[in-house]
């Protein structure tokens, strides 16, 4: 069990370390967001006193990176199937639960490395508060956000028969989750319909928790944030494991 998880984790790590261009690519996009939006909207942005737009979206951009990286990681099961490698894994004398655990831990690791790199960039730019408790809290939130969305990605992949559904997931799951999370705009004073949509979105609580951890303007209680996120994460993992167990080889 442990050695299976380690084997799959090791594979994710090897591919991550090897593929530097992919890492650069996945970091360039959030940094572009941060710099362009952070600068472009700074003049319009009026929120709680002393909070610039760049400061506001910083934790949101980390959340975005975790969301994308984790979902893609989960969905990579689809590519493994497309290229046949999934068969090699599924015919081995190991349980599917341990396969999923390995995939999850591997992807969570790579997602968190990206999240931490961004966090370092934000800290260097002076956009977040840096203290020990805050950093630890941020790591906890990053972990739970990532675990939740890897599981969701695996669940989505298990339901799809081929990678063509990938665009569908992108447009109808990943993008709405990102835009409706309060990563880019404050949740205060938005219309009722939008407020409801943001409140049923688990990422909202993840980003709110990150704002708390990093000294940004947060909305809900951090304990509530963490509790909701953890419940969602556990449910997503169970659903993902259930669907993955039934996925044909």
């Amino acid at each position: 069990m442990i050695s299976t998880i380690y084997t799959l984790w090791l594979r994710e790590m090897k591919k991550f370390v090897r593929n530097k261009s992919r890492l650069v690519g996945s970091m360039a996009f959030p940094l572009l967001f941060l710099v362009v939006l952070g600068t472009g909207f700074s003049g319009f942005f009026q929120y709680r006193s002393g909070v610039s737009y760049a400061q506001f979206i910083g934790p949101g951009i980390i959340g975005m990176t975790l969301l994308f990286s984790s979902m893609f990681g989960g969905l990579s099961v689809l590519w493994d199937r497309q290229f046949g490698f999934l068969k090699e894994i599924l015919v081995a004398p190991v349980s599917r639960v341990s396969i999923m655990a390995g995939k999850t831990i591997g992807t969570v690791t790579t997602s968190m490395i990206k999240g931490c790199l961004l966090l370092a960039a934000l800290a260097i730019a002076g956009l977040v508060r840096v203290d020990l408790f805050g950093m630890l809290a941020a790591l906890v939130f990053m972990f739970v956000i990532s675990a939740a969305f890897v599981a969701l990605g695996i669940a989505a992949a298990a339901l799809m028969s081929d990678p063509h559904g990938f665009q569908l997931i992108m447009n109808f799951l990943i993008m709405p989750v990102f835009f409706l999370s309060g990563a880019l705009f404050p949740l205060e004073g938005i219309p009722q319909w939008l407020s409801i949509l943001t409140k049923i979105n688990p990422l909202t609580y993840g980003i709110d928790g990150m704002r708390f951890a990093l000294g940004g303007p947060y909305e809900f209680s951090p304990v509530l944030d963490l509790a909701i996120l953890m419940v969602f994460s556990v449910v997503a993992t169970l659903v993902g494991a259930f669907l993955f167990e039934r996925m044909p080889a």
Partner: protein
């Protein structure tokens, strides 16, 4: 389990695979229709048949990645349903489609496999060395699989299937989409496996020459049934004699009717306007056929004589030409094209 063999002197302990009335249905379509079969330790066994005959389905069930509709099978003395993990440990499988991680090196692919099958670090290192040696890939082990040619990938997959020293190795269409030269090379490696490790090998193919060249015993499968089971030599001997192939000017049918009565002619068939004769002592019959043609008033434009091959056996048994079904299935053709493009 081995009732039939009891008659000829006891149940052999050497049966490594026993298949008993295996049925697989996909919706309304019967892919396997009561297959029963025994494969002995150390055999190089061929499953031969056109695409869609049920070969891959049978292998998938034996490898426990597909569940049968009814019937049972034992692999390495383990029940494929109740002792899945034990069956998986004792088999190796090379899938019909590519199944390597292209972003890892050859060695890393093998290492990954060894870890999944629970081999200790020292054993893993030793085995990687051994199997790479066997398929001649030692010098390429540190390259990403991405950079491998189609034949090298196939060899690496065969090596990987052997990593955990399986008792049984399944090879599903091991040379599909490869050029003739590479195919011959792969044949050599497969032959070596048996020699070096004594592994029992079950090979599926729709290439007649492949089955003929490699296998000690062949089951011909058509539409989910075993239509013949024997050594390649004995299967060919069934047809007897030689085959004469004639191209004649019309009316071919009437002339064919004429030939039925000729002495030494066992069988006459018409195929795409050509006349196929199964004969004894072909060299003596050819002059007589020419004589008959002259008397009958048709002109023979071409004549050839050859020994029957497995393809002829297949046509005889199933009434179809294996090549036709190969071309007729557009999805299969597309898949082969896709494989080639990727390689």
């Amino acid at each position: 389990m081995c009732r039939s063999l009891l008659l000829i002197g006891g149940c052999p302990v050497s049966a490594v695979i026993t298949i008993d009335a295996l049925v697989k249905k996909f919706g309304g379509v019967t892919a396997l229709n009561e297959i029963s079969l025994e494969i002995e330790q150390g055999e190089l066994f061929g499953l031969l048949g056109p695409n869609g005959a049920g070969k891959t389905t049978l292998i998938s069930i034996l490898a426990t990645i597909l569940k049968q509709t009814s019937g049972t099978a034992m692999v390495c003395g383990r029940n494929i349903e109740r002792e899945q993990a034990k069956v998986r440990k004792c088999i190796g499988i090379v899938f019909q489609d590519p199944s390597l991680d292209e972003d890892l090196t050859g060695e890393e692919n093998l290492d990954f496999h060894g870890r999944l099958y629970g081999l200790a670090a020292a054993v893993r290192l030793k085995r990687i060395d051994e199997v790479l040696e066997l398929v001649d890939l030692k010098d390429r082990k540190d390259y990403l699989v991405k950079t491998y040619s189609g034949g090298m990938r196939r060899r690496l997959e065969i090596a990987r299937g052997l990593m955990h020293m399986p008792q049984v190795l399944f090879l599903d269409e091991p040379t599909l989409g490869l050029d003739p030269q590479t195919r011959r090379k792969i044949w050599t490696y497969i032959g070596n496996l048996k020699e070096v490790f004594g592994t029992t090998i079950i090979l599926t193919t729709h290439y007649m020459d492949e089955a003929d060249q490699l296998c000690s015993r062949i089951a011909i499968i058509d539409s989910g049934r075993i239509v013949a089971l024997d050594t390649p030599q004995r299967l060919k001997a069934r047809l007897g004699g030689e085959l004469l192939e004639l191209e004649v000017s019309p009316p071919q049918e009437k002339f064919a009717d004429e030939l039925v009565a000729m002495e030494g002619v066992q069988d006459v068939a018409l195929e795409n306007g050509r006349i196929l004769l199964t004969v004894n002592h072909g060299e003596a019959i050819i002059p007589r056929v020419f004589q008959a043609a002259q008397t009958f008033g048709v002109a023979i434009t071409s004549v050839s004589m050859r020994k029957p091959n497995l393809e002829d056996v297949f046509i005889e048994l199933t009434g179809k030409e294996i090549r036709e079904s190969e071309v007729a299935e557009p999805t299969e053709r597309m898949r082969i094209l896709m494989l080639r493009r990727r390689r």
